[in-house]
Symmetry: C4
Subunit: 387 residues, 4 copies
């Protein structure tokens, strides 16, 4: 079955005959500029910003730029099949929507709009624990689309078990556990505005709606929001977890478990040793450890370290089809993309998310084909050159 993602290109050009332009830019750099214009400073900076000096976010982009595709000719990549399967989830292309919290600061429909757009394309959405909407509502919006659940692991086993149970009940199949955010990083762009959505009650749908969480409160969050906040803050902030706690998750989740935030081959090996099903090589888009290594720079050695023992996914810095191809070539089975669709949500709700995704998939489809590849499995280190 051939990919038809590239057809979005001709659709746009043909629309031009009727004077119709795309709803907003198809250029990832201009996209951020457009979002900056649309949003209030607080929400924009919360999404676009990074830890500290932004060094890691810049490093992510430079790492992509330093690696270059060597296109091959006359290989007949007319018919391309971008489909792949990751941990049992079939997807039309090696792309997932990265977990992005508090989406209602970007658009009133928030995660519901994102879920609808994702499902319309068959692209899996990884729902964040910090969602503005409840697990159940987002699941409803997802319809029959594939869905994964991201866990900010609460420091309260009852609440954790309750959340996991609800996610499973709502049809989420795969659990993505974020390892790099036991507390938020020092983020000057947010601190300078004293802007943190959670403290304002945004992104608290999960704990506030959770029976186990509510059971621990004297009054409901609706009646006494301050007390509710004071209960969730230490539950989600300030306490690390270590390797010996992973069996607890395995006990309470019967689907695949993916560890997100791995940056070192030894940690990747240990994840495999611990019986995890996958990892996401990620530095949280440069949002957590300022000055951290670019995730793409560590991907090759991590992929080599684990071989076929565990699925290797990638995020942090993916903006274009070429970026996806490069991550695949260096060992990722699929990539997660975050900020671009968040900007799409800000600029156009469900349609905006779809526009961004269709653009990325078209770009990927065309770039794969033009460089002589027919499927996500074909790019290899030989497809690239360093510098």
């Amino acid at each position: 079955m051939g990919s038809t993602f590239g057809a979005y290109q001709s659709e746009i050009y043909l629309n031009g005959l009727d004077g119709r332009l795309p709803p907003f830019t198809t250029d990832p750099t201009a996209l951020e500029d457009s979002a900056r214009e649309r949003l209030e400073p607080g929400p924009f900076r919360y999404v676009a910003g990074a830890a500290g000096s932004g060094a890691t976010a810049r490093a992510n982009r430079e790492a992509f730029d330093r690696r270059r595709i060597v296109p091959r000719m006359l290989r007949d990549a007319t018919v391309r099949d971008l489909r792949t399967t990751v941990l049992g989830t079939e997807m039309p292309a090696p792309v997932l929507l990265a977990p992005v919290g508090v989406q209602s600061i970007l658009h009133p429909d928030g995660e519901l709009a994102t879920a609808r757009a994702a499902t319309s394309l068959g692209v899996p959405m990884v729902l964040s624990t910090a969602s503005s909407h409840t697990i159940e509502d987002v699941a409803g919006a997802s319809g029959d689309g594939p869905r994964w659940y991201q866990l900010y692991w609460p420091n309260d086993d009852e609440v954790c078990v309750s959340i996991l149970g609800r996610a499973r009940a709502a049809g989420f199949t795969t659990l993505v556990v974020t390892l790099d955010t036991w507390t938020l990083a020092w983020r000057p762009h947010d601190l300078d505005l004293s802007y943190l959505p959670f403290i304002r009650g945004v992104g608290t749908a999960i704990p506030f709606s959770d029976p186990a969480f509510r059971a621990g409160l004297a009054k409901s969050p609706e009646e006494d929001p301050i007390s509710a906040v004071l209960r969730w803050v230490p539950m989600f902030t300030g306490t690390d977890r270590s390797w010996d706690r992973l069996p607890f998750l395995r006990e309470h989740w019967d689907g695949p478990i993916v560890l997100k935030g791995i940056q070192h081959p030894d940690d990747a090996r240990r994840a495999a040793d611990a019986g995890m099903d996958g990892i996401v090589v990620s530095n949280h888009g440069g949002r957590q450890v300022d000055g951290a290594v670019a995730s793409l720079d560590v991907l090759p050695e991590i992929a080599e370290a684990v071989g076929d023992r565990i699925e290797v996914l990638f995020d942090s810095g993916v903006r274009t089809g070429a970026d996806v191809l490069k991550a695949l070539a260096l060992g990722a089975r699929a990539v997660l993309v975050g900020r671009p669709y968040a900007y799409g949500l800000a600029l156009g709700g469900e349609d905006g998310v779809r526009h961004v995704l269709r653009g990325l998939l078209a770009d990927l489809d065309l770039t794969l084909g033009l460089s002589g590849h027919r499927s996500p499995a074909e790019p290899s280190p030989d497809s690239l050159r360093y510098g």
Copy 2:
């Protein structure tokens, strides 16, 4: 016979005595700025733009910057002979006009003006299949100038044979087959304007004028342009060709055949194995595979891979005389230059193209001489230093 190209310099300075300035800038960077001011956004961006994030176009320039000429002194390069012969075509300097389509978006005279300017200098023009004017009209404008034909290989053998026959009949001697554009890349700068000249009927001279193409239509393109467009789109877009189809071209073209878009030594070797006469090491000026390697970075190993088996030409990023010298030093027999003359066309029609070409050739002539070289054959890897 000594080169007189450098004399354009004194001509300009002497004109200054009468207060006459050059028609427009002689600086390639300022040239692009001038063209931006002159043209509408659509045409300018179509010509100046690149695939995706523009990473490859930037890489092309950086690759030139990283390689530096080591000038030699007291070698007496007073008398220089820039002439060369490529595949039987004699040319006054190792420079050809790269195929650039739809030139009427830049100037009403389009390819006719370019052809006249090229012929006036004896520089070969490579006519694009996507020309705004018919093969025959451009041939007429070329007079007795050398001419090569660039093929966007149509996915209809009858039309292909018809086009090749017309090109041969019109006196085109060498066929340049573009391998990297079976479909257009994802180009945000054009997509954001929904601007694609072909869909608007520009650059459709070849198929619309072609008897074999017209024979396949119920009504003529003049009567029913939509149907004509719907016939040519799948003919020129969306279907790759592979190595086993090259004999078809050889069968229908009795002159030299050059494959344009080679970026890997193995593909270069295979072109030689397939009996091709030449290759153009090119990434289409960064217009096709975003994130692709700089063409200059792969030129040395490609030149080494094929040795004397096949002629090696180069394009992608050439802007100055020093750039030409560097490409020659790294193994190219001649280079193709594109955007600069397209800007010249926009700014001054035939005279504008000539001004740009004379400037480039003067720059090349002077740079060769000042660095101690007397002919295009003298630069070698020893003429350069990396970094």
Copy 3:
């Protein structure tokens, strides 16, 4: 005992609930911009400026950017202890306030404000010989806080002995001898304004108040300031010292002695051979030798050269928590930070210094924890990656 520095983050966010923002930015880059707006050009450029073309100041930052942290996961760094002890001085984190002279050009309270802020956090202040306030006054403001004294070594033994005696009497424990400023560098930013605070009488508190200095004058500095200036200039400018003079210092200082400005392993070894207690690897923040090597680039080999023979401190370019972590990883036991707190002083006096320090310590605390480290002793070369 766990670090609570990170709590400054939540304090700021919680203040946001009441609409309170931080007193000024938490971003080191924006901090410099804010100081530029607040200060007159002379004082701003004196503090922000560097020697010559500023090449060394830029090199300092680039050296940090080129080294990147590889975060480790699931190591449980919930409880962190940032305390360390350097040459007998206990400090709550491996951070000291670098000697910064003439602080009254930034804020009327000058070094007194800085001393109060430092003591309130327990952070050692290294008082500059070029202080706007006397040793005794600053000591008074320091209360029970740890204090080190920086010596611009006067070319008059009596005055030197007098100053050292006063510093000891005032409770300063450790002597930091600056080796790289026997004269000021060529600093175009100051020269263009003819702005040098000392010549205007600022930063002359030490010599003007010193009995040994006054004893050498016919009239007191208050009566005849010109003569006083003419006496101190050659005392503090224009005469280098060499290794054989170090015993003189040892003779007159019974606490630890640290040599500041070491940039070469051989000089570090020699400092150890000379019985010194510590060194500061430093290029004076790029203020002295234009075109000098980045201090971070020489830190690893210096640390290796001296091993445990001598304490290795570091300054020059530290702006963020990640920078501190990197310097620790490469062999520094603690770092000195200068311009950031000077900007804080300019923007908010004592409160401003405290705000900057709390921000840096919070950033360090969080960055250590998020990358899997629990104490300043844990970062090692393996924590980093080059490029």
Copy 4:
């Protein structure tokens, strides 16, 4: 004898007490900006401009930035002696004024002002053949200062012999033969203005005043300037010279001869073999071969190639004292500096040249001392670090 150049620093600061500022900036980058504001575009661009895209001029600066000084401490460089002797010429510092032609486009006094400033400091001036003033007049202005003569070698032996004779008679001791300018490079910045001073009669003092030149004219240049121009153009442009012509120079010049423009070790060796006395490693400040290697990048291997057989001088890109130190460390015995003093001339005539020179020498004096060197002979490759 100790250097007193550094005293210019305190002179400037002390002037500040009376509210006096330097006549113009002491910062080389700001200096170019100031000159841009003062001058008409033609003269400014002629001096500031470079060949082609300016790549070589940028490369010159980057080559300095990549090499960094490793300062050494406690070496007692209080007393510094910057004097050196090059080919029998004693100079107070290893710095000469590079030949810069047509200085009257910058200031009416032109080379006369430069000569006076140079002599007042004892710095040798290398007078350009393209001087606005005659050899004899500049010699007069030079007084008892050291003077070297730069030859643009005319393609007419009688004129050449006449010029050399006049230079010797006027007291010029050393001949600097420029090898890289048998014709001018392609310089868009000048071409776009059709601005070439020589064609306008500026910088023609030498040929127009020369008896041998005038003897070849039917009418004097004053009567028939066009014919005079038509005679000198082919005499100074368009004809290279080769190694076998050097004996002619030796025959007609009894002092030291220096070849300027060497960029390759083999050419340096050949200069020594040819019995030349010195070379200037130079790319003419990036004005001749666009895309040429940075001169500093080839200096080390050239210095090693010739050892003590021949004196090695350097120019191209020197702006600061650190630059001079780096060139000395890599094997140059002295450096030539051009554009900075030309800007000084434009901004302040003789005083402006002196201000720039005093600034550079002060910067050099201080930088040498602060990094632990006492004389120009002390910097060595060990004084630097790459990157």
